[in-house]
């Protein structure tokens, strides 16, 4: 009997059941870039064939069941004014002129962003390349591998354009700004973000919608602001689910170093199909997460991508994965995955080892 596909494995896991073996998730913008054969990052990020080629090779070499094809996190927001500089080794935001002198006026431009004729993300070069790359990848792998696909909520739309430290600062120093932002976030910015979410899900043939909960790091927001943000994100997730259909699974992304998994589960647990998070390597022990949530929701974790996978020996990687799988077997179901995209420079032999170890130890008997 032929083996089930990675996509089937992923769907079984997302339904809360155990497939033949634990699905393996990981992805990496920078490793895919290196695999594409295009040496200049500036050329790579606007070349859909190169982007698709990089991820094709990624899937083939590393035998993942779940992955993600993406560029930098500002690509979709270029049309809203997110400016980046592309250095030889990284894509990153430009320093805004309001970094050291706050400017309340920067939020004015968001009042009409719901006009998608004007603010279609595909007007940006990198986003346009991504959409084409997704088409290529769906043709090649759409029935075999699950591509995690999504966009963070409306607050992230603002933050990634204005600057995250800047917006965090501004809500403290400008009286009344929080209320103004709430109006924007529940209005035009929500509309834009929801519409773009639907476009993204369509681009991966409705495989899933990925919701980011990165901001729910215990060291980020105070409790009041966290609840404020959660009310907006909940509204966002409801609207997205209404648009794409409630049968489309919602995957998650919690790459935080100090994740407030309890808060995330309490507020969003009923709206998502899994809890992906960074452990080991973060402050939240995997064992504790397994005990608290393993019987209630599919969990995806187990690989310290910045520590052991990046700088550890083969033996250390093996010990880490074995231990994570042992803990994973105490859950209703479990997927093996890192905290976030794998880092450039992660030894390829360590990455290849993950599928081997999963095949050896991660079989559900």
């Amino acid at each position: 009997m032929s083996e089930i596909t990675g996509l089937e494995r992923a769907y079984t896991y997302l339904k809360g059941k155990r497939p033949d073996k634990m699905p393996l998730w990981h992805d990496s913008m920078y490793l895919a870039w290196k695999l594409s054969g295009v040496s200049d990052l500036r050329d790579y990020v606007i070349n859909p064939e190169a982007i698709a080629r990089g991820y094709e090779r990624y899937v083939e070499q590393f035998k993942v069941d779940i992955t993600g094809a993406y560029l930098d996190q500002w690509a979709l927001y270029e049309v809203l004014g997110a400016e980046v500089e592309i250095l030889p080794h990284v894509v990153q935001p430009k320093t805004p002129s309001w970094r050291y002198r706050p400017d309340r006026g920067v939020y004015e431009k968001f009042r009409d962003v719901d006009d998608l004729d004007k603010y279609d993300p595909r007007r940006g070069r990198r986003a346009a390349a991504l959409f084409k790359a997704w088409g290529i990848l769906m043709d090649r792998f759409g029935d075999k591998v699950l591509f995690r696909q999504g966009i963070p909520g409306p607050a992230a739309t603002l933050a990634l354009v204005v600057g995250t430290p800047e917006i965090m600062r501004d809500v403290m120093i400008f009286p009344g700004l929080l209320d103004e932002l709430r109006e924007l976030l529940l209005g035009p910015v929500m509309d834009w973000t929801v519409q773009v979410s639907v476009m993204l899900v369509e681009a991966v043939d409705y495989q899933n919608f990925n919701m980011s909960f990165v901001t729910y790091d215990r060291s980020f927001l105070d409790p009041e602001l966290r609840k404020w943000l959660a009310s907006i994100d909940l509204e966002f997730l409801k609207r997205v689910r209404n648009e794409i259909g409630w049968n489309v699974p919602v995957t998650t992304h919690v790459c935080s170093y100090d994740p407030d998994l309890d808060f995330i589960y309490e507020h969003f647990g009923k709206m998502v199909n899994e809890l992906q998070f960074y452990s080991p390597g973060s402050t939240y022990p995997l064992g504790e997460a397994v005990q608290k949530f393993g019987g209630r929701i599919p969990l995806c974790a187990g690989i310290d991508h910045l520590g052991t996978l990046y700088a550890g020996t083969r033996r250390e990687v093996e010990e880490m994965v074995k231990r994570s799988i042992e803990l994973g077997k105490e859950c209703e179901t479990f997927a093996l995955g890192p905290g976030c995209g794998l880092a450039l420079g992660t030894p390829l032999e360590n990455v290849k080892l993950l599928a081997e170890l999963r095949d050896t130890y991660g079989v559900w008997s």
Partner: protein, 210 residues
């Protein structure tokens, strides 16, 4: 009254702080007094942050307040001559908020700080080390894409036999014990409180290894 600075800073009113600092400086008030008031406000905010009452938005507002106050003081403010010297910067990327928060702590602590900024490569730090002759080099690192640059900085210090006099500490998303071990750095940390303690530990090591 100079104490208004503490109230304005604690209430996240950087423009009021800036105005008040300019006024006090023009009246000849000792900049060390101004810095002490800012330090109190910063430590108070950090305490509330550690207790979970405040978050990064509060610390972010503090960074802007500190920066605007220091700008307003201009060349009137100087660290003391014997102050420990810390060279800092972000390696290879734009990430700055964590570094800037820690910079405020270092300045408030009385260290002599030279912040090289962001998007730095090894040669920037090496020039900074040769120019500034720091006790501690504090690197903020968020991307593994540039860890080869960290290797170059460490190797430079080893080749020049400066490892006893100059200590390297790292912070940021990529800072962990595996990276610290692999790149032979002297310490690593993940929050401002640890960053200040680390400098004192490094100073002790330097004193002990002399």
């Amino acid at each position: 009254m100079a104490e208004a600075i503490y109230e304005y800073a604690s209430s996240f009113r950087p423009f009021d702080v800036e105005r008040e600092v300019r006024r006090l400086v023009s009246e000849g008030v000792d900049p060390k007094l101004i810095l002490e008031l800012l330090r109190k406000a910063l430590l108070n905010a950090y305490q509330l942050y550690r207790q979970g009452v405040y978050g990064l938005p509060h610390l972010s507002a503090m960074v802007t307040t500190f920066h605007m106050a220091l700008e307003a003081m201009g060349d009137k403010f100087h660290p003391s001559e014997n102050a420990p010297k810390v060279l800092m910067g972000t390696l290879g990327s734009i990430h700055y908020i964590g570094k800037d928060i820690i910079k405020c702590f270092y300045i408030a602590e009385g260290f002599n700080v030279l912040d090289l900024g962001e998007n730095l490569l090894a040669e920037d730090f090496i020039k900074g080390i040769e120019f500034f002759k720091p006790h501690v080099v504090a690197l903020s690192i968020f991307l593994t894409n540039v860890l080869n640059e960290l290797e170059k900085i460490v190797s430079f210090l080893e080749e020049k036999e400066l490892r006893r006099e100059v200590k390297i500490i790292i912070g940021g998303a990529v800072a962990n014990e595996h990276i610290a071990r692999k790149y032979r750095v002297d310490g690593w940390g993940r929050d401002p409180g640890e960053a200040v303690k680390l400098v004192y530990e490094m100073l002790e090591k330097i004193g002990g290894e002399k």
